[in-house]
């Protein structure tokens, strides 16, 4: 950057361009720096999770009070830089440039200072005032690194506040500094990094050429620098705006400096290096860290996989041992209680009101909600593994295997989440940086056997196969995973022409869990599930109920039954009669509805348990076929809704449904006829 740019930036930083009525703070930082921990600490439950407009990137905003005045705080997506490599980076810089926050807080890690200051080198060149939150000083001290805060703050020209966000240390000091900056009590003199000397002329040339053409709010010098970095978004923008001959001239400069991208980055690292040399006392290298010792096992190609298998086993064991009794209890006492309560309360109400409440709403939404404890426990265990840093290792050891499908290790994380519930899994695919790999991951996610499907399998398997129930259940999990891999491989070959996406992933240091972060994660994911149950699932429950009572109020002659009879020929090929076919169809609403529907269909036969009726009505072959179909049937309504939301396309959503239909039909027919042939 040139002298003039430096001056203009310093000016604008000292006199904020726009003061918001309610002060606006933006939280910026690279991944794994403790940014979310700090955000949670400041806002607690006063936060709102949504999406950035038009993007599938999570937007978290919250409020807290500073000197009893409310302050808005926006958690920007975690990014390594501000160049348009991903939507996150574009969102972060557009927010800072357009919304002009009154203060940008950059969260950096003292234990990882060199790399985390790289983003600061970018942020400090933007017009908003910057405050650096130097997090994880405890981890750094533990590793023998000492950061001299005063020297760092003088070298940067902006305030630096040491803190340990996990223990809420340094928060008060940070707030005090933010207050001073907001009130103009603290003058910032940011030291902006310069480009490597061999490219200084090029930068000046481009600045001169584009000067007067750059639309607000973009600073001219900044755009020139981003053009040199080969930023795709800004290159496109300037190519459209500039007169043809000027663009030609800019393009020529860029061609002559095709190594500029690296020169700009090197310039920033030189700047970072100067800061570090001044402020950090380094210990002699050679000591083996905890992370290194743990990774010898957890990231080993063989031991790592075995370890992962043990971890997965433990996750399921905890989830179901603790969760299932709670779910049964809720089913019996809460939903059962509500139903008998509604029975009494609606004694004199018209028949249809009673049926709507008891069969439609309580039977549909109610039974879905009883899964919440199982899900909450799963989310908690998953959140714990994520928080301590293990999930990156799981992704790493799974990378080889995921390559079979043209995916890489990162796709393993959302898929694993799918064991709990496919809905957060589809949303979780956002961690994947390549658009194509993300789409493929979403398309195979519905093959992950979620807890709801496992409940159906557990019930039917226990009824039909007694002592072999567990074995049969595991068999169906394996069948689902096998189909996932087959379909994934096929889709990758056919639609994506076997392309591979790049695998670049930071392996964060292991650290002790932060219960607050995990708690909030469980809370938010559970809340999202309850909202889904209260909207989509409620709506569909009522529709299915309407279909099951019209026109005579009797299921066996209802529209639903007619639909069942109508598609029965297809069901027959899989050994399913109209009742099992209807059960399968209603599982679209929510997977575990399959059991509820069978309960309604056989409702007339009183005094005998559903399990007994089923075993006396259907053959083992039909039961196996029904389970295969249930495992592989089209995604439930809620999952379908998020698939549409995340892919932003009906085409992919419909393709996904057709795909699942074909697969479930083919596999369960095959299972049925093989079972018949083997006389199971």
């Amino acid at each position: 950057m040139t002298e003039s740019a430096l001056n203009s930036l310093t000016d604008s930083a000292a006199h904020p361009l726009a003061r918001h009525e309610t002060p606006l703070i933006a939280l910026a930082g690279q991944p794994n720096m403790g940014k979310s921990t700090l955000f949670n600490l400041l806002t607690g439950l006063n936060q709102h999770v949504g999406n950035w407009p038009g993007k599938t990137v999570e937007r978290r905003e919250g409020t807290f009070s500073l000197d009893s005045t409310p302050v808005r705080i926006v958690d920007l997506p975690g990014t390594y830089s501000l160049t348009a490599n991903s939507p996150e980076e574009v969102i972060a810089r557009e927010f800072i440039l357009r919304e002009q926050p009154d203060v940008v807080v950059a969260v950096v890690s003292a234990a990882n200072l060199e790399r985390s200051l790289y983003l600061v080198a970018e942020l400090i060149s933007l017009p908003s005032p910057l405050v650096v939150a130097l997090n994880m000083v405890d981890v750094a001290e533990h590793e023998g690194l000492h950061v001299d805060v005063d020297i760092l703050q003088t070298a940067l020209g902006v305030p630096v506040v040491p803190m340990v966000a996990t223990r809420a240390q340094g928060v008060r000091e940070l707030l005090e500094v933010i207050r001073q900056v907001l009130n103009g009590e603290r003058v910032l003199m940011p030291r902006v990094p310069e480009i490597r000397s061999d490219h200084r002329q090029a930068l000046q040339d481009i600045s001169r050429l584009i000067s007067g053409h750059v639309p607000p709010p973009y600073p001219t010098e900044w755009v020139a620098l981003k053009l040199l970095e080969g930023d795709s978004e800004l290159t496109k923008m300037m190519q459209e705006i500039l007169p043809a001959e000027k663009w030609q001239a800019v393009h020529q400069v860029l061609l002559n400096h095709d190594d500029a991208q690296m020169a700009v980055a090197s310039g920033r690292y030189e700047w970072v290096g100067r800061m570090i040399r001044a402020a950090v006392a380094r210990p002699p290298i050679g000591q083996i860290s905890v992370t290194e010792r743990l990774d010898r096992w957890a990231a080993h190609p063989l031991w790592g996989l075995i370890f992962l298998g043990l971890v997965l086993g433990a996750v399921f064991w905890v989830t179901f041992t603790v969760g299932s009794p709670i779910q049964n209890w809720l089913e019996t006492y809460l939903i059962g209680g509500l139903i008998s309560w509604a029975d009494v309360l609606l004694r004199n109400a018209p028949f249809w009101v009673h049926s709507l409440v008891v069969d439609g709403i309580l039977g549909g939404v109610g039974s879905v909600l009883t899964f919440l404890p199982i899900l909450a426990i799963f989310f908690a265990v998953f959140g714990l593994l994520e928080d301590i840093g293990y999930m990156a290792r799981a992704a790493y050891v799974m990378d080889n295997f995921m390559h079979l499908m043209g995916l890489h290790g990162k796709s393993f994380l959302p898929l694993f989440l799918g064991f709990g519930c496919n809905v957060p899994a589809v949303i979780g695919s956002r961690v994947i940086d390549s658009e194509q790999a993300r789409l493929l991951t979403i398309l195979v996610t519905p093959f992950m056997p979620c807890t709801a499907r496992m409940a159906v399998v557990a019930f039917i398997a226990a009824a039909f196969f007694g002592p072999y129930a567990t074995l049969v259940s595991w068999g169906f999990v394996l069948l689902s995973l096998l189909m996932l891999v087959l379909v994934g491989t096929l889709l990758n070959r056919v639609i994506f022409k076997g392309q591979r996406s790049a695998f670049i992933m930071e392996m964060p240091l292991y650290h002790l869990p932060n219960w607050r972060t995990i708690g909030l994660l469980v809370w938010q994911r559970s809340l999202a599930f309850i909202q889904k149950a209260g909207t989509t699932i409620l709506f569909l429950s009522v529709i299915i109920w309407v279909l099951s009572v019209l026109p005579n109020g009797d299921l066996n002659s209802s529209i639903l039954a007619r639909i069942g009879h109508w598609v029965e020929p297809i069901g027959r090929m899989m050994g399913l009669d109209w009742r099992l076919t209807v059960a399968l169809l209603t599982s679209f609403m929510a997977k575990e509805n399959a059991i509820a529907t069978l309960g309604v269909v056989f409702g007339n036969s009183q005094g005998v348990g559903l399990a007994q009726i089923l075993t006396s009505t259907f053959s083992h072959a039909s039961a196996l076929a029904f389970l295969s179909a249930t495992m592989l049937f089209i995604p439930c309504a809620a999952t379908m809704a998020v698939i549409h939301q995340e892919t932003g396309s009906w085409r992919w959503t419909v393709l996904n449904i057709l795909l699942m239909l074909v697969v479930s039909f083919a596999v369960s027919s095959a299972v049925y006829w093989i079972a018949v042939a083997l006389r199971v």
Partner: protein, 83 residues
């Protein structure tokens, strides 16, 4: 031995525990942008943490451990530290 020590090669050929100095980076703007923002710039010292000859590897750069696919690692050109 001396010639071999100073040889320029892709990062995938570096053995675990070995150090190397990065000299160049080939690849598209996206890959270069991604890797430079993680600290991979010419001149930087890299330490191989894990490399079993197949599968992804782990390399330490600027105090950060980064997992790279072999395809990505092949784009990073390094010079072995012969000492």
């Amino acid at each position: 031995m001396e010639a071999e020590n100073n040889v320029v090669c892709p990062l995938i050929q570096i053995k675990p525990g070995e150090r190397a100095r990065m000299v160049g980076l080939r690849g598209g703007k996206w890959l270069v942008g991604r890797l430079t923002s993680l600290g991979f710039t010419p001149g930087v010292e890299l330490t191989m943490v894990q490399n079993f000859g197949r599968g992804p590897l782990i390399v330490s750069v600027r105090d950060t451990r980064v997992a790279l696919g072999r395809g990505e690692a092949a784009h990073i050109i390094v010079q072995r530290n012969g000492a």
